[in-house]
Symmetry: C2
Subunit: 320 residues, 2 copies
């Protein structure tokens, strides 16, 4: 069996739950939206050698691909519905890799209640390239946006920041202590915060997922909302593993704040809603931490524990 036949055989069962996928045998797929809802759609590509290593476990590649897209849906306040996957496969890709990739999709689509409905597999002379389009839905007028932050808002972030970027650094350094293992897992397997999508619709003024880096992504909110923001580095929530790592090398705080690959949600909300936000964090057993405030003006300022403005080597959007 060639790799195309194997891919077709392994992906078909992933489409079983959705009649509109036609077992992946038609020209296109059909989706119904719930009444009064809008479709939310996002697309991300990952390239071997750029976004993942060619020898990374295939199931982790598949799960990360799905999760980074789900994180975008969460940032818009959407609940997941369906996805399409595009694969450009080099000749000689092993059956094991293909099985691992399909297995990773199967595991995570079950975990996140989303179903494969279509896609395309082609051959390439270059590196393995994977592309995913994820679709969700949100009630009309309830979508979360980057626009909408207001001076006086608190700036909040879910979970912990910096684990993904520190995990990548640990991977490159060949570290394998307990902290490195934790951080590398977070790099390979981001946790898209879909549990926040629905409750934040009623709370957040603006939202984004932290993929480019905390400072850069807060900058995106500020740019689109026409405001500035000020955060205190000491308030940024770090995992125990990240704290331990930064304690050994304090310069890594830069990596935490600008490294990206967090896939946490960053949002602004009225400070009077802080009680609701605390209650939500408790309900979900997911930290939601206020790290700063929205101000009039433009740009993001980060203050260190002395109140001095921090400078970074790069806070801009890193094109990858």
């Amino acid at each position: 069996m060639d790799e195309f036949a194997l891919i077709a055989e392994l992906l078909a069962p992933l489409a079983k739950g959705e009649p509109g996928a036609f077992n992946l045998t038609d020209d296109a797929a059909l989706i119904d939206l719930s009444e009064g809802h809008r479709l939310v759609v996002t697309k991300d590509m990952l390239v071997a050698g750029v976004h993942f290593m060619a020898d990374d476990a295939a199931d982790l590649v598949a799960r990360k691909l799905l999760r980074v897209n789900l994180s975008d849906l969460a940032a818009m306040g959407a609940t997941p519905k369906a996805y399409l996957v595009g694969l450009a496969v080099p000749k000689g890709t092993s059956d094991d890799w293909i099985r691992g990739f399909a297995g990773g999709l199967a595991e995570d689509q079950a975990a996140f209640s989303i179903t494969l409905i279509g896609g395309d597999t082609v051959s390439t002379d270059g590196p393995l390239t994977v592309s995913l389009t994820a679709m969700g839905e949100v009630p009309a007028a309830m979508a979360l946006r980057r626009a909408g932050a207001k001076p006086g808002d608190g700036v909040f972030v879910s979970g912990s920041i910096g684990d993904g970027a520190l995990g990548l650094a640990a991977l490159k350094s060949g570290l394998d202590d307990d902290n490195a293992v934790y951080l590398i897992d977070r790099y390979h397997l981001p946790r898209p915060r879909l549990e926040l999508a629905v409750p934040l619709r009623a709370i957040a003024h603006a939202a984004i997922d932290v993929s480019d880096g905390l400072i850069a992504d807060l900058g995106h909110i500020c740019d689109v909302s026409g405001v500035g923001a000020e955060i205190e580095a000491a308030l940024v929530p770090l995992s125990l593993a990240a704290k331990a790592t930064v304690a050994i090398d304090p310069t890594l705080m830069d990596t935490v704040l600008t490294g990206g690959d967090d896939y946490e949600l960053l949002f602004t909300a009225d400070k009077t809603d802080i009680g609701r936000i605390v209650a939500l964090a408790t309900d979900l057993a997911l930290p939601l931490t206020m790290i700063g405030r929205v101000i009039a003006g433009a740009g993001v300022m980060a203050l260190d524990h002395t109140g001095a403005t921090m400078t970074f080597e790069s806070t801009g959007w890193r094109h990858r």
Copy 2:
């Protein structure tokens, strides 16, 4: 300016018509469906060196990418709404290439009433790889499907068959006479038959677009519908250029019937509807030709002008 900034600058205007695209600055895009409609979604990838030549004109690559996806929408009876584009761009891609690509999208999205709403640009160490997700809508229960062909149906095809595959052959042979120019244009710029999408909803029992090859795609209809089909090669409509080319080398009739890249619509319909189909062809100034019939059984049989069964080197689905 790096290529990512240039791509962002050139693609943003393409999203202007659609408020849900947020000028391509948000995590995902929003789309509304018309009431009572379902979303139709399809995704195709093209790789330089596999699906197009690295030195092909960038605008033609963009337009073909969009058109092959639009052809899938047409085959489902859908009207186009929006698309996302994914680009994996090698370092050193010229500004001219990027400008050409964006210009091609601009030209065809205007021609086919579809708007860019999102996507992703990444770097690659491999060949340029482009991926497009196209979305359309169709009234609930009106979608055209590969399933539904019934014994006794006529088998119909739009336009002319074989131009794309003969065009590719001409390109490879370095031909540049008038016929070759016509055929090569058809290879580079398929005509997605969107004008058939709406009228065929009420006429076709089953439909597909001819991308893998006439015989193979009719085989797909037969497989999913649980029927067989018989076509007469002499009835298959050829352009004047294709006729002239096949007259010189009659073995090229194989290429016509199995070569693919036609992006015409192949459909089956009740023979009593032939009057409506003729009227539709006249209305649209687009040939709709009956080339055979659906029969009980399985598989596709092609008959030559003597009534003998034709055999082909390859009629199967060519994975590319």
